[in-house]
Symmetry: C2
Subunit: 242 residues, 2 copies
DNA sequence: ACCTGAACACCGTTCAAGT
DNA sequence: ACCTGAACACCGTTCAAGT
């Protein structure tokens, strides 16, 4: 949310307004977003800010605590996610989609959060919100916990794979034949479903909707619209969607 | 680019014979497993091997392609995962558990695979195997693809969170009260289910079993509710691998 | 074919010294 | 309170020179 409103233009050697900790963090975050943590060197950062390398140390201590501050900021940003929508179902979907978008917007920072063991902390607010909706939909106890986790892991998994495809080597056209021959085993629809590289957001929304339909009990939501699936006797696991 | 030298066999017990590419990779992998990629410096590696820093360059080119080779090796190792068990259900579970174990055994290397966009490639073999079982259980087309992805994402999600807990800051005792007050909302069982830090493997197996029960159509498997496994030991995975 | 030390450019960090 | 350059230890990499 806090965007760079800094009036500073990076003109190396040019005197400017006083250097502030916020300005250092902004410039550092920008470098990390573009080139990852190893693209952030104290000397490049100083050049970007037009100061001496050593000035930075006064404001942020050292490189490690600078990265820590960036991580802290990221956690705080992800913590501000709120649900939107009328029904629990819609609100869960909105949470998942927002989560996905925010994670994809800062992959390097998210990776740094993970390295520092703060992934769960980062998800805490979203987890609480998911929990609230799942509760509102009627789930309790272990069932509710499972549902929250399922959504969370699905988001993580999708983001991971998407992020991976972005930086994947060429492979995109040659990919299908990994699946064709006997791999997909006489099931062409499956082969396509697995090998295709379509609109990632659509795929995400679709499979998440299916998951939510399987997880949440029917009837809490007018928009359910799908014929109820019979699950055998005791089994109550998530079914599919449309 | 330097060509790979002939596969000469170094004396098994002896730490110091002639320097070989394999020996370099082994030592490098060991350093990465212990301290992560940034713990691998060419100079430390040379010290470890008892050679001059520059000798390494003859065998592996440079640091970047050394890391590439490590990644390649990791992908190859994860590619060797095989299913075990009698029923599709059991085989899916065994695949997931083996996958989890192998991923947890080399978190840094897995992260490097991901950075290079090879995550999907690394999962390819497991994905094919999962697909085979899901097919055997009777799923087809998009349903089968969804099931494979669900298992895959669940494994990834669990490994991510587990890994995260390992390196998380203290927080373990203070964690529950994040959930207590109005967070878990009058549902104490839920609060405990979400905040607890119990045997991670058990949690994994339990939620995966639930997922599989929900995904696979009933009737293909007689052992639906069998209370067979209660031992804590890791009993199913093939301990193949280098 | 394999190994070596010297040398270079870059890095994070400290510190005495400035204002 | 803030900023600075010099200096140090460490890094990856190149290269001419050894065997």
């Amino acid at each position: 949310m806090p965007t760079p409103p800094s009036p500073r233009r990076p003109a190396p050697g040019q005197p400017r307004a006083t250097l502030t900790r916020e300005a250092v963090l902004d410039a550092a975050a920008s470098l990390v977003r573009q080139h990852g943590p190893q693209g952030l060197t104290m000397r490049k950062l100083a050049a970007e800010l037009g100061t001496a390398v050593t000035s930075i140390y006064w404001h942020v201590g050292n490189r490690e605590s600078l990265l820590d501050a960036l991580v802290e900021r990221t956690v705080r940003e992800l913590d501000e996610i709120r649900a939107r929508g009328a029904t629990p179902r819609a609100r869960v979907l909105s949470l998942a989609r927002t989560l996905r978008r925010e994670l994809l917007a800062r992959p390097h920072l998210v990776a740094m959060v993970h390295e520092r063991g703060l992934t769960e902390r980062m998800f805490l607010s979203a987890q609480q919100a998911l929990l609230h909706e799942v509760h509102a939909a009627g789930l309790r106890g272990a069932r509710a916990a499972e549902a929250v986790r399922a959504v969370q892991f699905t988001v993580i998994g999708h983001v991971l794979v998407e992020r991976n495809r972005e930086r994947a080597p060429v492979q995109r056209p040659g990919e299908p034949d990994l699946w064709d021959t006997r791999t997909a085993e006489d099931d062409r629809a499956l082969a396509r479903a697995l090998a295709r590289a379509p609109d990632a957001e659509r795929v995400f929304t679709t499979s998440l909707r299916a998951l939510v339909n399987g997880l949440l009990p029917p009837g809490t939501d007018g928009s359910a619209g799908s014929p109820d699936r019979s699950s055998g006797g005791t089994s109550d696991g998530p079914s599919d969607g449309p």
